[in-house]
Amino acid sequence: MTRERRIVGPFNRVEGDLEVRLDIEDERIAAASISASLYRGFEAMLPGRPSEDALTIVPRICGICSVSQSIAAAAALRNLAGAAATRNGLLAECLVGACENLADHLTHFYLFFMPDFARPAYAGRPWYDEAAARFRAVEGTAARDVLPARAAFMHLMGLMAGKWPHTLSLRPGGSARPLAAGDVLQLVGLVRDFRRFLEQHLFGDRLEAVTGLAGLDDLARWRRAGGGDLRRFLAIADDLGLDRAGRAGDRFLSYGAYAGPDGRLWPAGVWRDGRVAGLDVEAVSEDVSHAWLEGGTLPPLLGRTVPDPDKPGAYTWCKAPRYRGEVVETGALARQMVAGQPLVRALVAERGGSVTARVLARLLELAAVVPVMEDWARAIEPGAPWCDALALPDDGEAVGLAEAARGSLGHWLVVRQGRIARYQVVAPTTWNFSPRDGAGTPGALEQALAGLAVPGGDLTPVQHVVRSFDPCMACTVH
């Protein structure tokens, strides 16, 4: 038996700095440890600031999930006030949130994930020459198609949120940016333009044809004819067996996404043992046994973040969030499992969670949300109120939940005498890239890497599994 320890870092195209440590036995990963290597200390910065300052400071945790941070902070303050946002304000929150999430899905697929298939290790595979020309980092033809389309879609941010990242338009009472009737027409136009891009380049079909695929037979039939980058990905994934790579525990968490005026587009819940249970926010706790942090396991409302850089046995700045003490995975795959998306459910029923399932779930969300954005835009009433001025109480506790592109994001807030007394953030990648807990149970990515074959010691498969989670390391530790 051969054994070796390999360290991969800086593990790039993950949004932030990441180190992956692997114990390899006989060309197979025996164990993985995931280390988030940057600590900034946002949870230590916020106490003492006026509670509404969270709206300015918290989005700056993350440049890629900035709007999701805004939405969670606004929700926490809204819940603190025990009040509601305006109808137009909720539509704005859905549209601006969807713009960020969908742009993130696009950025992840084209700029972060697919370039690994252009690696020389794959030269000689039947799909290699085409994939390398299309997806090679920076130089591939895809970047020149995607960057202008993404930037044009982001005009939604200029129109509805001032700028991206780091808007201040989304607020507890609604949106600070009212749209006039003419603005709504611009909005409809730019969403349709994005639809055209997706249909031409990514799907090679109508969005509705993609969202209408009800199972694996439908998908197999659909793949037989037509072009587009999704079909290209699926062909590569089949050849490399990515539908059997990267399975974690198959327990999935979603806080529920796009809370519009008439309810959520996708529900909150937890998938476990083949069924969905309702979400119990009180069941969330954070263990710090393997993080360079002081203390023990606490619910976020009582959470502490105090560095202990010399702590024995610790290997990351990331806490280990657990749901009823268990590891859960979050992200587009989890959202769609909880929501009952038929194709995603079928894929996971057959093979479990995988690289293929995570990527496909993300692309299906692109196809599903753009038509709903068109509906949200049409539901806007320009003359109706956009933002209520909410009176924030001087004392209280509240939780704000959101779904970022890469999964469930929660803010836990305690306010005393009008000032923030505690602010704890549990971000999507905190869940997915968590270290071991006090019981020694590895986090979701650590589980997904264990058992992965790395023939000849080539770590390219590791690149696919890690990036399939669409990690954001800036959020992870914050």
Binding site: V8, G9, P10, F11, N12, R13, G16, D17, S35, S37, L38, R40, G41, M45, P47, G48, P50, E52, D53, L55, T56, I57, R60, I61, C62, G63, I64, T107, P115, R136, A137, V138, R144, L147, R150, A151, M154, H155, M157, G158, L159, M160, G162, K163, W164, P165, H166, T167, S169, A176, R177, P178, P307, P309, G383, P385, A389, L459, Q463, A474
Partner: protein
């Protein structure tokens, strides 16, 4: 054809938002703009194929002088904590604090560019007593020094170029890089805080669509109102150096166009205003922070005069979230 300029991009204590903003570049897009500036990307953490050992080989070649390093860009703050050790950011795969890498690589670079307010001054990381020990490359807040020291000069003779902002506008950096690429970027292109004057010779106020409300001191009372945000809602657009309302963001946007105050994010110390970000501190009813270059007495006199002369249209629209009184049209003017 001139030799390409080798650019190495590193990230430390930050959110990655300046890179994400950079992807918003349009006409031409980011890839073509870098090509136009004659830039060859040695490595960028979000964009390059090279990962792990492949990336470390690039860093080592630059640090040892085997690869020419024309431009070093840092996004995010150098993290000096805890206790000056730099262990709050060990560059993954190296076991070595990022601040050591930065000192070494800056010493090899012909130009050093701080991308965003975190890299320039410490930025948002310095909120609440700066728990991570964040600093800028050549400033710590408003104080010259920072990681590299006040006397640092890059190989081509310039100090660190501070493309400050939270985040940056893609044009601020890409125009700076194009200027370097064309050999048209010298000390005369930098302002007092060594920011490129191509965007800091203006104030955020310039081109603000709320200008008529400002002129008449017709102020918004709450978020979503259309009036001026200076009197009540914390706007510092008349004090912040940047061309946000001329260059525009994501097509047609800016903070003011998005309905919220300018927090002067291009200025050192913006993160600690000494008051709630979105409330204007006042003394005897007059905002404490006055427009740049404006004597207080003149401001008070003009404000009183213009308030007394405010048209009804402006006064009513200022406290509404939509136009309740459109500008008058003369009947029969067609």
């Amino acid at each position: 054809m001139a030799e390409p300029l080798n650019l190495l991009w590193l990230q430390s204590g930050g959110c990655g938002g300046c890179t994400l903003s950079l992807l918003n570049a349009e006409q031409p897009n980011l890839v073509d703009r870098l090509a136009d500036a004659g830039i060859r990307l040695l490595w960028h953490p979000s964009l390059s194929e090279a990962s792990g050992d492949e990336a470390l080989a690039v860093l080592a070649a630059c640090a040892e002088g085997r690869e020419r390093l024309d431009i070093l860009c840092l996004e995010g703050s150098p993290m000096t904590g805890p206790h000056g050790s730099g262990r709050f950011h060990i560059l993954a795969g190296t076991g070595r604090p990022m601040i050591h890498w930065l000192r070494e690589l800056a010493g090899r670079a012909r130009h050093v560019v701080a991308v965003g307010s975190c890299a320039a001054w410490g930025g948002i990381n310095a909120v609440g007593g700066n728990p991570g020990g964040a600093t800028g490359l050549q400033y710590d807040g408003e104080t010259p020094g920072g990681l590299l020291g006040r006397d640092f000069r890059a190989g081509a003779g310039l100090p660190v170029i501070n493309v400050a902002g939270c985040p940056i506008h893609p044009g601020w950096l890409l125009d700076t890089l194009l200027g370097i690429g064309l050999g048209r970027f010298g000390m005369d292109q930098l302002d007092a805080y060594r920011r490129p004057r191509l965007y800091t010779d203006h104030l955020v106020h310039h081109g603000c669509p709320r200008n008529e409300y400002y002129e008449f001191k017709a102020s918004a009372g709450k978020a979503s109102d259309q009036g001026c945000l200076m009197e009540n809602l914390g706007c510092k657009g008349t004090q912040a150096h940047a061309d946000c309302n001329m260059r525009l963001w994501n097509g047609s946007g800016s903070c003011l166009r998005g309905g919220y105050a300018c927090i002067r994010c291009t200025e050192p110390g913006f993160e600690a205003p000494g008051h709630a970000f979105e409330q204007t501190p006042k003394l005897a009813g007059i905002p404490v922070g006055l427009p740049v270059d404006m004597p207080r007495a003149w401001f008070v006199a003009l404000a009183a005069l213009s308030k007394s002369a405010t048209p009804k249209r402006v006064r009513d629209n200022a406290v509404s979230d939509h136009i309740v009184v459109p500008p008058a049209s003369k009947a029969g003017a067609k």
